[in-house]
Amino acid sequence: MYACLYASGCNSADLLELALEFSPVAEQTSGDTVVFSIDALRRLLGSPSQIVSELCRVGYQRKLQAHLAITANPDTAVLLARNCPGVTLVNPGEERLKLGPLPLVALFAHGLAIDPDLLQVLHRWGVKTCEDLAALPEQGVAERLGNSGIYLRNLACGTIQRPLRTAGIATSYEERLLLEHPLHLLEPLLFLLGRVLTDLCGRLRSQSRAARLLAAYFELEEKKDYRCELEFPVPLDESRTMLKLLQLHLERHPPEAAVVAFTLCLAPVEPRRVQDGLFLPPTPAPDKLQVTLARIAAMVGKENVGTPRLLNTHRPDALEMTTLAVQPATPIENNNPEILRLAMRLFRPALHARVRVVKYAPKNVVASGVKGNVIQLAGPWKTSGEWWTATSWSREEWDVALDDGALYRIYQESQSREWFVYGVYD
């Protein structure tokens, strides 16, 4: 059995508080309507009529003016509470009878996802009340109106059974730990961080959530603060992975003084749900890959690890490093061409060169690791761009084959007239 309280113009929090006083399972369908289960109250308070009188007594004490309906299913309770003033008590099996006189508009106000044009269709058919709709044959309604029609008919019959949609309990993903004595070393600190992270990740998993961001706030001995934020490319819920990433960060950027307290905070997000294909190539496990890349970044530097992304410009070698986003493999048509493309190995930065020029063409090139006479050449090809920014370039490029057996691209800057070896074809 379900009870529904409807009070227009009343504070929704008061209404919910009253419902929660009687049952822990309560659904607030709108700001002025609360429906809750009263099955468990029958052993405590007695029959439905006794529950009604108890509800009225508590409502009167709280000075709440509300309409009450008690039925066998929540939707009927809501419909009757909203449309029948006072107290309505319906015995199981009598829902259709009680709902019968209600106008069809009441059903459309209840189900928000129903197409409002359906009401005009039903009116044209001569169906004005719930009783008229309930009298229609189910198969005919399904054929003509589809799922929406079936839902409306079942609503009019009072036969829809569903569980209540209760509001989740707010969970905190923040934890503070005050230490008994200051910690100078990382290892004992990690032990405590691991314990707190395990607790926080347990909370995440219990709510079917994962974390995209870990914020750590350390209170230091000399009244200084140290804050770090780790953003994960994919949502994580494994405390071991988070702890490893935090350890790698703290090893690179240790706090300046001993830690006296710390606070860890996780930003919950929806977890990553992936259905991998049976015949698709495997991809690295995202959590394991993050730890691996963090380890490599700790070794070679964060700016030297990532996925290259080309910038939308003609500037030579214009790119930026981004974080690898591991996506599930997708089948792609194998359009790899059969033509072998000649690639270039770059010198970063370009090698400063001494070039002997005869009749406007380079004859000899000397640079670090590059030395030889020009056998064949092509050029010059003039390129320039972005003259309006600090990254402007203007140069004359040559492809030269040297007598050392290799093929290079060299260029002369237009302003400074200096020569550089840009790369070698390889």
Partner: protein, 219 residues
């Protein structure tokens, strides 16, 4: 007698190649050189001097792997990898991890070790080209055995690109490249580089006869 006939001399055992449970990677443009493809869970080496097409061939293999939606990695010893060239060769950059060790060979080897042990990669390219022989000789042979052990029975291919052979007996394929002819178009004043012809010899693998490859200049 039937049991005795199955016995083999112990020295022959290492030379018996173990069949991989994964389908080989077959780059369409390199079908002449690798008719059976590059075996998964093995080390393949491509070596030669400058302008021998080492990097071009490596990029073709990476392109083949990335269009099959595999995640690949490039460990770049001297920061010489060009994503522009890779993209024009057909490599899907969003499937690529690029590690630049800025000339530190030890970091490059350790990064390769971490990536191979992480697992899940299609091809890991270790680019040791232009490195001084003194630096490369310092890499212990045991590292290559370690790499081989890390990737065997996995779908990962470790592709080593260098001036000379590095992994020695640990590699399954050793492809030697030599520059042959540079192709130019046009007259002296309006000349254009069209491509590069190289000779490829598979030193270790199925085919031994040399093959000629033409590497076309990108448009």
């Amino acid at each position: 007698m039937a049991n005795i006939a199955r016995l083999r001399v112990a020295s022959e055992l290492p030379s018996i190649p173990e069949e991989s449970q994964f389908i080989s990677l077959v780059p369409r443009s390199l079908i002449k050189i690798f008719p059976k493809g590059i075996a998964r869970g093995s080390i393949a080496e491509i070596y030669g001097p400058r302008s021998s097409g080492r990097l071009s061939l490596c990029l073709q293999i990476l392109a083949q792997a990335t269009v099959q939606s595999e995640v690949c990695a490039v460990i770049d010893l001297y920061d010489s990898f060009s994503p522009v060239c890779a993209a024009s060769a057909g490599v899907r950059l969003e499937k690529l991890v690029w590690v630049r060790s800025r000339g530190n060979a030890e970091h490059a080897i350790r990064a390769a070790d971490l990536l191979l042990h992480a697992g899940g990669f299609g091809v890991v390219l270790l680019d040791l080209c232009e490195a001084n022989a003194r630096i490369l000789n310092r890499i212990p042979l045991s590292y290559w055995y370690r790499f081989r052990r890390a990737i065997e029975h996995t779908p990962t291919i470790l592709l080593v690109c260098a001036d000379s052979i590095q992994a020695r007996s640990c590699s399954n394929n050793q492809l030697q490249l030599k520059p042959n002819v540079f192709h130019w178009a046009g007259t002296a004043l309006h000349r254009l580089l069209r491509g590069l012809e190289v000779n490829a010899i598979l030193r270790k693998g199925t085919v031994v006869r040399p093959e000629s490859l033409f590497l076309k200049m990108s448009a």
